[in-house]
């Protein structure tokens, strides 16, 4: 016989009340767990969707010359820079401590060349990286495979008579369409080759109209353009996508600056801020709702414990009369509260996990998942216990302060 024996026996005796309390705490914790799980999954999804918006870090050479404009980003002039970027710099970025957080490193060399006799901006790119970075591009044709394959911007392709609209469709129509395959339905490629500089290149594909600088550019393999411009190993700009979940973008910028002291490294704050704001709002909403539900749960525990104390006045009085200290009464009641709260936490965690799994498809696109996190389980149980203990402090102290002589008056 220990004080815990009395607590366990009381729980067994008041199964209904214990069940009610476990359910109450379970609902509170379940709601919090479901919201937090959904919020985490949504954060990840938002993060991954925002990743698709492109680079959020741009590395350019130090330069005092007038810049070319590329995608709204100032790109240093190609010919007059004192400190050129090189292939080694791109490799250097991949060596920073946070390299695992970099989803794409896309080096580029920009220059102007004659394309079928017209002066055109050409970009030498690593297609594998570039296509991962520019997920909004709608390609007609296919991705370049060989060194001589090129992608033409929409305006360049039209000027070179490399495309023609499908009968009954307008190439200008539906510019806002986000479907990757829509481009191939709007026009077809009618030309296989194009002359860039003095060399013939195969047109692998045409980028659907974006309304951006890509429309007026030609994209070729980096090494080919470096040869073509007579600038082997040189780069004009390196675009970096580091917008993964919980990426410390500012820290990554700092590390790249340290690695490339001769380069300008800047984060595209707008993108970072937009993501952070979206995620923060979601998190704040989840926290507020969770806090409200937990407060209701705490209130329920409080009222139930208060009524339990009144109900058990006689019992507590008898225990005090036969020699139980106040601390013994507190210990006994708190054992019950902790057991009930822990059970509520476990039930709530399981219920929350189940609810979030059932609800997730309604909030996100296919592919998002609720992960089974041990930390969330520990957190749920800890919060449940904290809620139970905090909301029971007053009733339990009140119980311990019951005057035994008053209590045994009921006797």
């Amino acid at each position: 016989m220990r004080i815990s024996t009395i607590a366990f026996a009381n729980l067994r005796r008041r199964k209904g009340k214990a069940f009610f309390l476990v359910s109450g705490i379970g609902i509170g914790i379940g709601t919090a767990v479901a919201l937090l799980s959904l919020s985490v999954s949504l954060r990840e999804e938002i993060g991954s969707q925002m990743d698709q918006f492109g680079a959020n870090i741009v590395v350019t050479p130090h330069s005092d010359s007038l810049a070319l404009d590329y995608g709204g980003v100032s790109v240093a002039g190609v010919s007059f820079d004192q400190h050129q970027l090189s292939n080694d710099d791109a490799a250097g970025i991949r060596r920073i401590p946070y390299r695992k957080r970099l989803s794409v490193v896309a080096p580029k060399l920009l220059g102007t060349v004659d394309v079928d006799g017209r002066r055109t901006l050409v970009a030498g790119v690593d297609f594998a990286s570039e296509l991962r970075l520019k997920k909004w591009w709608r390609l007609a044709g296919r991705a370049p495979e060989s060194a001589s394959d090129v992608l033409l911007g929409y305006d360049v392709a039209r000027a070179a008579s490399a495309i023609e609209p499908f009968p009954g469709t307008s190439a200008d129509a539906d510019k806002s369409s986000a479907h990757h395959s829509a481009a191939s339905e709007e026009f077809r490629i009618t030309k296989e080759r194009v002359t860039i500089g003095s060399r013939e290149h195969r047109i692998a594909g045409v980028i659907g109209q974006t309304g951006g600088p890509e429309d007026r550019m030609v994209f070729a393999q980096l090494s080919q353009v470096q040869d073509l411009l007579g600038r082997p190993g040189q780069l004009s700009v390196i675009e970096v996508s580091a917008l993964c979940k919980d990426c410390p973008v500012e820290d990554i910028v700092t590390q790249i600056r340290k690695e490339l002291p001769h380069a300008n490294v800047s984060a595209i704050q707008q993108s970072v801020r937009a993501r952070a704001e979206a995620v923060d709002r979601l998190s704040r909403f989840s926290l507020v709702v969770s806090a409200v539900v937990l407060a209701i749960g705490a209130l329920m525990v409080f009222t139930t414990m208060m009524s339990a104390v009144v109900e058990r006045t006689k019992e507590i009085g008898v225990l005090r009369a036969i020699g139980f200290r106040r601390t013994h009464i507190i210990k006994g009641l708190m054992i019950e509260v902790v057991i009930i709260s822990a059970a509520g936490g476990i039930v709530g965690w399981l219920a929350g996990l189940l609810a979030s799994r059932l609800a997730l498809p309604y909030f996100t696109e296919a592919g998002a998942q609720i992960e089974l996190r041990v930390s969330l389980a520990v957190f749920a149980i800890a919060i449940a216990m904290l809620t139970g203990i905090v909301s029971s402090v007053y009733p339990v102290i009140r119980a311990s302060r019951l005057d035994p002589s008053e209590a045994v008056r009921y006797v």
Partner: protein, 241 residues
């Protein structure tokens, strides 16, 4: 020196919202010797229960001192007084107040729950007192599975398990029929015959007649004390008990 010394104890209750106190005990003094069996009698509202709870170290008197075994009980802190109750006192309540969710042996072990004793020792002591009150074979029964008399004996066993020097009983036969009440009183007499000090509140003159001494209280004051012989004569004690 008396084992229990009640020295000029007064108790006044303040009604809620009222500043005027209601005196319940007035300058009560008495002594109880070791091994003595003392009963307290008086009409309802005379202060019997108040005096019992004051003797039970759980109701601070407004004035006066209670000294038990040389210890000034109300000079102790609340927690130390709880320890004192656990060590010195055994309570038998009118309606027994057994925990209905604990079986007989667990009910008996209750006063030992907070003591740093091995589980086996607690069990041994509990079984010993259960045997003493004749419930050794009913240790695993719930109170609801026991008769009224058995419940009374179980309550006595619980009061004895910590081997207290003083047993306090509040009308232990008050809710029992005569036969069962007699059965309970026989146990008290037997306990006292083995040296147990007992202080009992009762309305029943027949029970009081079994004590060495009877204190009579009225309107919060001890009116007179009678010894057993006197009580027996006055109250026509039933010799069949």
């Amino acid at each position: 020196m008396a084992f229990v010394a009640v020295e000029n104890i007064s108790k006044t209750y303040n009604d809620q919202g009222s500043r005027i106190g209601v005196p319940v005990l007035r300058d009560v003094s008495t002594e109880i010797g070791e091994g003595e069996f003392v009963c307290l009698m008086g009409p309802s509202g005379s202060g019997k229960s108040t005096l019992l709870t004051i003797l039970g170290a759980m109701n601070h008197p407004s004035q006066g001192r209670l000294v038990i075994d040389g210890i000034d009980v109300y000079a102790l802190s609340d927690e130390r007084r709880a320890d004192f109750r656990a060590q010195y006192l055994g309570f038998v309540f009118q309606q027994h107040h057994l925990m209905p969710y604990l079986n007989a042996i667990e009910n008996v072990m209750l006063p030992l729950a907070a003591l740093p004793l091995a589980a086996i020792e607690k069990r041994r002591r509990a079984l010993e007192v259960l045997e003493k009150v004749g419930l050794g074979d009913k240790a695993s029964r719930l109170p609801s599975q026991l008769s009224g008399g058995e419940q009374g004996r179980l309550a006595i066993a619980r009061a004895l398990v910590n081997d207290p020097p003083l047993v306090l009983a509040d009308e232990p036969t008050g809710t029992l029929d005569t036969k069962t009440g007699d059965e309970i009183m026989r146990i008290f007499v037997e306990l006292n015959s083995r040296g147990q000090t007992i202080f009992m509140v009762t309305h029943n003159p027949a029970n009081a007649a079994l004590a060495h001494r009877v204190l009579h209280i009225r309107d919060g004051e001890l009116e007179w004390t009678s010894d057993t012989k006197e009580a027996r004569a006055e109250l026509r004690f039933n010799p069949t008990l």
